[in-house]
């Protein structure tokens, strides 16, 4: 009994001592706001794992200050995101907020970032206009036009003359439709547009229409989970055999669910900034370490967004000696390095990455489906 008491007292002293040590050192807090529950859980888990992995690999001390990650769940609902961001900024006094799984979540927080002068690092939301909402926003992922326009250019250069676009009828879908159609028409191609309601249980009528229109390719943009249904029904309808190509942006063949889609996904051609199969030593190391940390799950483009976002913050803090505010945003601007996805530079004006876009085809590699890159479009501007 006395012995156990001794252990408790000793460990209590230990805890106090370590607390004192931490307090002696200054702390930089990063408020990571992610959808950890609800329909976008996969986004949250990918980014969280990647962010923690980055800290584990690069240590939790920057410029002599201890970095502390505060993870909060916003369930993917914008007003919750805003409330959490406010709590983090006012109560926890975070130096940076980060995360933001969807466009509305990022936009809801933008006014707070401006008012409080707290940098906001967008790791996932991809609507092109987000950085306009606040001068304190920087983004470590990609923008929709950035992925869509190279697709249209690639299609026009590779013998595709007639394209039917099938997009879900919501903001990002319409963005993608416009970006694709505009570029493809300018390159001399012929485009028809078809919009599908967001809540659409069965794609058969649209794909039948596509089959009857006999285009060279169908460009698809749908929320990532739904992509699998489109591909399955595409194959079921025999469209793959009639020589119609399925093209799209990489959201449709998201690494997180690609392998479950089965052979229907084979041959789909997409453009995107990241594939888990990207061939570089940086990426190999990243994928191996991520898989180990996530219990075998491979990283997708959300994960790389989280990983590179942490790098931006770390590099910025090094330059400012741990200070936040406007200085930190300015320090992050122009940061340039080789990320697992390839070379990236944070554009100082648009506060988005200038990065390579890769044209990829879904192939079976070692028994699993991967987006295998076969062409590179270097240094694509974000908008």
């Amino acid at each position: 009994m006395r012995r156990r008491l001794l252990v408790i007292v000793a460990s209590a002293i230990g805890v106090l001592a370590s607390l004192a040590a931490v307090q002696g050192q200054e702390i930089v807090k990063i408020g990571l706001i992610l959808p950890m529950t609800g329909p976008f859980t996969s986004t949250g888990r990918q980014i969280e794992t990647a962010a923690r992995l980055y800290m584990q690999q690069n240590g939790d001390t920057v410029a002599g200050k201890k970095v502390q990650l505060i993870l909060r769940d916003d369930t993917g609902v914008a007003d919750v995101t805003r409330r959490i961001a406010q709590e983090l900024i006012v109560n926890d006094k975070v130096t940076v907020t980060a995360g933001f799984g969807l466009t509305p979540l990022a936009l809801a927080t933008a006014p707070l970032s401006t008012q409080a002068k707290v940098p906001q690092v967008i790791m996932a939301a991809a609507t092109s206009t987000i950085p306009d909402a606040s001068p304190f926003i920087v983004r470590s992922t990609f923008t929709l036009p950035q992925a869509t326009i190279p697709m249209a250019e690639w299609a026009a250069q590779n013998g595709i003359k007639k394209v039917l676009t099938i997009v879900s009828d919501y903001g990002p879908g319409i963005d993608a439709e416009k970006a694709f159609s505009g570029t493809f028409a300018k390159a001399g191609g012929q485009v028809d547009n078809l919009r599908v309601p967001l809540a659409n249980p069965d794609f058969s009528p649209y794909l039948q229409k596509a089959a009857d229109a006999k285009p060279d390719a169908i460009f698809v943009f749908v929320p990532s989970g739904v992509g699998a249904q489109v591909m399955k029904q595409f194959v079921e309808r025999g469209l793959d055999k009639s020589g119609i190509k399925l093209i799209g942006t990489g959201d449709v063949t998201d690494d997180d669910i690609l392998n479950g889609m089965g052979d229907a996904a084979l041959g789909t051609i997409t453009t995107h900034h990241y594939s888990a199969a990207h061939d570089s030593p940086e990426n190999k190391a990243f994928v191996d370490a991520f898989k180990k940390a996530a219990g075998g799950i491979r990283p997708n483009f959300m994960a790389v967004g989280g990983y590179d976002g942490m790098h931006l913050i770390y590099e910025g803090l090094k330059k400012t000696n741990g200070a936040g505010g406007e200085a930190l945003v300015n320090a992050m601007k122009g940061t340039s390095w080789t990320s697992p996805r390839g070379p990236v530079t944070l554009d100082p004006q648009q506060r988005d990455f200038v990065q390579n876009m890769y044209v990829r085809r879904v192939e079976r590699v070692g028994g699993e489906l991967y987006n295998v890159e076969f062409a590179t479009i270097p240094n694509v501007k974000p908008r």
Partner: protein, 284 residues
């Protein structure tokens, strides 16, 4: 043109299998069970997880996709639902929608929010050409399975002793009990079959409709439309309504894609204005 009709029939049949359990509980037992979709989801997850993670053949998972939701149905009916038979419809709605929220959260927690996929055997994939019509093999399979279910249900309800007991129990519970019919047992069994059919529908539909934890919410509206348009006093009503809605939906989206999403709602509004009791139901 005929391909569109074929796709419409397949889609309608699928809607029917998903919704007929609801027609049974709502129409025959007069119980508003919004949690119906949760049973369908259970069936879908059983098929998806068994085929993709454990390599069980798709056909072998179908009996399980029926049986497991049926057993869950019995347990819930015995413990929870039966307490609400006598309560108002509002209580039933609140209770069952609560169950849906719990089911969604539970699946999300246990399995995750990502899409699940059913792995189909090779002979159910692709399509064949028959009499100039392109026919998807999986859709033909759905039509065949659903056709069998419709005929079986109709025969059981109209030709068997169980069917007449069930109808008696629904028409007048007290008199039926007085005649020595075990109303409780009949209701439990009916509820189990309804839940089982939902599970089977979920397993069959996962390939076409997709499957994630929000499934019960996404498709609740479709179940309700089928049951409202078809009327709830028979099996044939919802069946014909499903076919009508399936064909109208597919054809509407094919011919007028810009308005396609509204076709089935317009149809529902028109039907309810003309025949508020449902298309194929007797006026009460």
């Amino acid at each position: 043109m005929l391909t569109i009709v074929f796709d419409g029939i397949a889609y309608g049949m699928l809607l029917f299998v998903l919704a007929c359990g609801l027609a049974v509980t709502l129409g025959l037992m007069n119980f508003v069970n919004l949690a119906h979709g949760a049973f369908a989801m259970a069936g879908g997850y059983i098929a998806a997880l068994l085929t993709s993670r454990h390599g069980v053949p798709f056909l072998a998972t179908l009996p399980l996709a029926f049986a497991v939701p049926a057993v869950i149905g019995v347990v819930l009916e015995r413990t929870l639902y039966r307490r609400l038979y006598g309560r108002s419809h509002l209580d039933q709605v609140l209770f069952s929608i609560g169950l849906v929220f719990m089911a969604v959260a539970a699946v999300d927690y246990a399995i995750g929010s990502q899409q699940q996929f059913v792995t189909l055997p090779g002979w159910l994939q692709g399509r064949v050409e028959m009499l100039g019509i392109q026919i998807g093999l999986y859709r033909s399979f759905i039509i065949a399975v659903c056709g069998v279910i419709v005929i079986a249900l109709q025969l059981v309800l109209t030709r068997t002793r169980f069917g007449s007991r069930l109808r008696a129990a629904v028409d007048d519970r007290r008199v039926a009990q007085g005649l020595g019919i075990r109303v409780d047992a009949i209701f439990t069994l009916t509820f189990a079959v309804g839940s089982g059919l939902a599970g089977l529908g979920g397993a069959l539909g996962a390939e076409i409709l997709g499957l994630d934890p929000t499934f019960p919410f996404k498709f609740m509206i479709y179940f309700l439309i089928v049951v409202t348009v078809g009327g709830t006093t028979s099996i044939t009503g919802p069946f014909l309504a499903s076919l009508l809605l399936g064909i109208a939906d597919v054809a509407g989206k094919y011919y007028v894609p810009s308005l396609g999403a509204f076709v089935i709602y317009t149809l529902m509004v028109v039907v309810l204005v003309i025949r508020p009791q449902g298309l194929f139901a007797r006026a009460r």
